[in-house]
């Protein structure tokens, strides 16, 4: 099993969610987060005062999928979240040792 974490632009959330549901992914966790990557924010001027905006609002998606599906999910994420500009976000993939459904103690991929 793989855990896929994707940090994306907030305005892409609906499109990404629809694309994932479209390929049959039905479980995901969505978090409202703030952060920055290489772009490290920027300066804004409002009425003569400078504001440093270093933490930008982003959306983080977390999903755990069977190994066999990971590639397809990642491709779908990239396709639906990309605008081609700075700030599109990142995807992180990690191994999951175990998954347990609390209700009935199903384990492994059966619990996903």
């Amino acid at each position: 099993m793989k855990k896929i974490e994707a940090v994306i632009q907030p305005f892409k959330l609906e499109e990404v969610k629809a694309a994932l549901i479209g390929i049959g992914v039905d479980g995901m966790t969505v978090l409202e987060v703030r952060g920055h990557g290489r772009q490290k924010g920027h300066k804004e001027v409002y009425r003569g005062q400078e504001y440093v905006v270093d933490l930008l609002p982003k959306v983080k998606l977390e999903l755990v999928v069977p190994d066999a599906r990971a590639d397809e999910v990642i491709r779908t994420l990239i396709r639906s979240a990309r605008t081609g500009k700075i700030g599109d976000g990142k995807i992180f993939v990690s191994e999951i040792a175990e998954a347990i459904r609390i209700r009935n103690e199903d384990r492994g991929e059966a619990a996903l």
């Binding site: 632009q9 907030p10 305005f11 959330l13 609906e14 409202e32 987060v33 703030r34 804004e44 001027v45 409002y46 009425r47 003569g48 005062q49 905006v53 933490l55 930008l56 609002p57 605008t83 500009k85 700030g87």
Partner: protein, 833 residues
Amino acid sequence: MAKPHSDGNGGEQTAWRAVKERFFASGSAAAVLAACSELAERSVLAAYQQHLAPVLPQGLALAAVGGFGRRELYPHSDVDLLVVLGRAQTGPLKEGLSSFLRVLWDGGFRVSHSVRTVRECLELRDDNTELTISLLDRRFLAGDRLVYAQMDEGLPQLLRSHRRRLTEQLCRLARSRHAKYQGTIFHLEPNVKDSPGGLRDLHLLEWLDQLREDPLVRSAWLEELGSAREFLARLRCFLHFRSGRDDNVLSFDAQEEFAHTGFGRACSTEEWMRQYYLHARAVFGSAVRAMELGERRSSSLLGEFFAWRSRLATADFSVSRESVLLRSPQRIFHEPEIVLRLFRFVALHGLKLAWETERRIQEALGAIERHYSHRGPHWPALLEVLAMSHAGSALAAMNATGVLGAVFPEWRRIECLVVRDFYHRYTVDEHTLRAIQALDELMATADGNRTWLAGLATEIERADLLRFALLFHDVGKGEAGGCHIERSLELVEAVMERIQLPLIERRLVRWLIARHLDLSAAMTSRDLDDPATARFLAERVETLERLKYLTLITYADISAVNPGAMTPWRLELLRRLYLTAHHELNRELATCRIEVAASDDPERSEFLEGLPVRYVRVHAEEEIDRHLELARRCRERGVAVELVRRDGVHLVTVVARDRPFLFASIAGALAGFGMNILKAEAYTNRRGFAVDNFVFEDPARTLELNPSEAGRLCLTLERVILGKVRARDLLQSRPKRIRPSRASRIEPRVAFDSGASENATLIEIVAEDRPGLLYDLARTISEAGCNIEVVLIDTKAHKAIDVFYVTFEGGKLGAAQQETLRRALIEAARPDS
């Protein structure tokens, strides 16, 4: 109790099934409560005989307390027992008690018990008030009658001597319970026991009744709330049977199931949820009043007298303990319009209504409704309520007393209306009132992340219209299907017509309701870094003024969805959205010019061509026609000036051939007459004619008191514009100003932006307002040899926000030139320069 596990000798399980079946057939809660109490009692008595009586035949009494004591045991509620002892016991009692409890637990009862001596029961300590409160519902079950009688007979004395302390403690507990539910009954998934207006509040009323000094005052509410009690009890029985445990949360699923059950009366989920809220409102209202009354009685008469003579009192209203009373309560029947003056008083001082006042209003609701159902000039009195800083709480009080529905029958469509989704926590009416309160709270916020928004709230001109638009923004949700915004617009149109809202003000209300979802939609669906988004937003909001209104309405609307909806994350998105639109609207002031198609009226085309797009957005057709007339006069005489009075301020419009120092001269001449400039806009069309608008106040009322002064002002303006008189000479005798307090000082800030336009430089200045400020700034720019292309000036609460687009020899300003001008402008903007 709980569902009996086994059929004992008494046939408990069979009896239980029969109770449940009877409930679903009849919907009668009273029968369930009595039957459950009886079933529990039978088992408790059997267990007592078997395990406790043999151990301690004397010196121990068994009492029922809580719901069991009241014979109101719900199917899965705890069975509350009190073991009263003549004196402290050890040894055999402990074993007997554990067998007694085990039998009951094994029988499926959830027993909650305590063991106390008679002496402990008749003591009041801080850590045992709950015991004393539980004793209010005591009932003898079994055991030593003498021991029970000792406790029972001593208790009235205890209650009498600690009446005040117990009342206060009860009220404190109730208030903290209410606070857990944000003090509102309007939760979409309420708890029928603990939410405000739930069964616990009915118990509170009973307890406070028992603690009252004068037994004759008792129970007036009991009859009034009879149907609410039956309704809530039925609901709680249903919830217990439905989930098989002590579950009191009326979830969305439970609401639907209950609607299907119907109990003989088929109606939709929304309809009967409305009934729920109406009952809960009645219960909560009575509970709040009873608490006020209870707490008031526990104070001294002298305190009452002084409170009465509050300094806030007026000829119509008096104030006692922060609550407003009518001086002549009968007046409201033959003079119903006094009700809006009353709520204006509430909105001004942030007070609440005394319950006597609420009662009186409720009796007069018919007269109030008849009065406001006729078309009439009701708006000025409403404006007075809506413009006050506590308008939100005044509107909430208007809603609670039914006045809001009586004045605006349209409001009733959303009263107690449930919206079924995962985000909304409150009914539509409560959401609306919370949105308005969110704005009121914003004005006083100390949160650094919200200061920019609080700033916008002080800069808008018509907070009353913003609140009015919010009040009706979701009123169309009262109807199924279709777009609620369109329906809200239809309904508000009827309201505005009936209260005779001035036509020009209706435009903003309509626009705000129509657009109230635009920014929140853009927040989550548009790329804020994309220039196309900035253009889209600017087209949507049209002007900087409207952007402020829309940002505030968006903030209020989201904040009122649920207590955690306005996260720092959303706030940051909203701020970015505001900035994106703000920068774009500033940019297009200089870049987006009117291009007129050849087919239009040639004179009009000639006049409009080259003016900023903003010009047609902020001026109505009639105004443009008047400006055209001025342009005609200007061609004949070189200048045309028009002065009009509108809504307590003056507006002067000048059309003249553009020249250096033109704007500065007009600003200087107005300041020389002692006028206080609030707003100004200046543009130049392609033919080199300038259209300058100034809105100003006349603090000394010169124009009002001396009719000839208006003519002299116009003449002076013409002479200044034509260069026959110097503005500087007029300013020699300008009046000394009164400076605001030190706390409100604003340090001048000047910012340059060369990227905002293709050929002009944007200068944005924020400074503390003072007479002659605009003249000093404009003069400084002109003295630097710069040409002023576009000007937009706004002043609110001593803060001047000035935007100038300037060119130097037809192009942008260089870096060194900017620095020199910045220093000069800061110097010119200083409060004492």
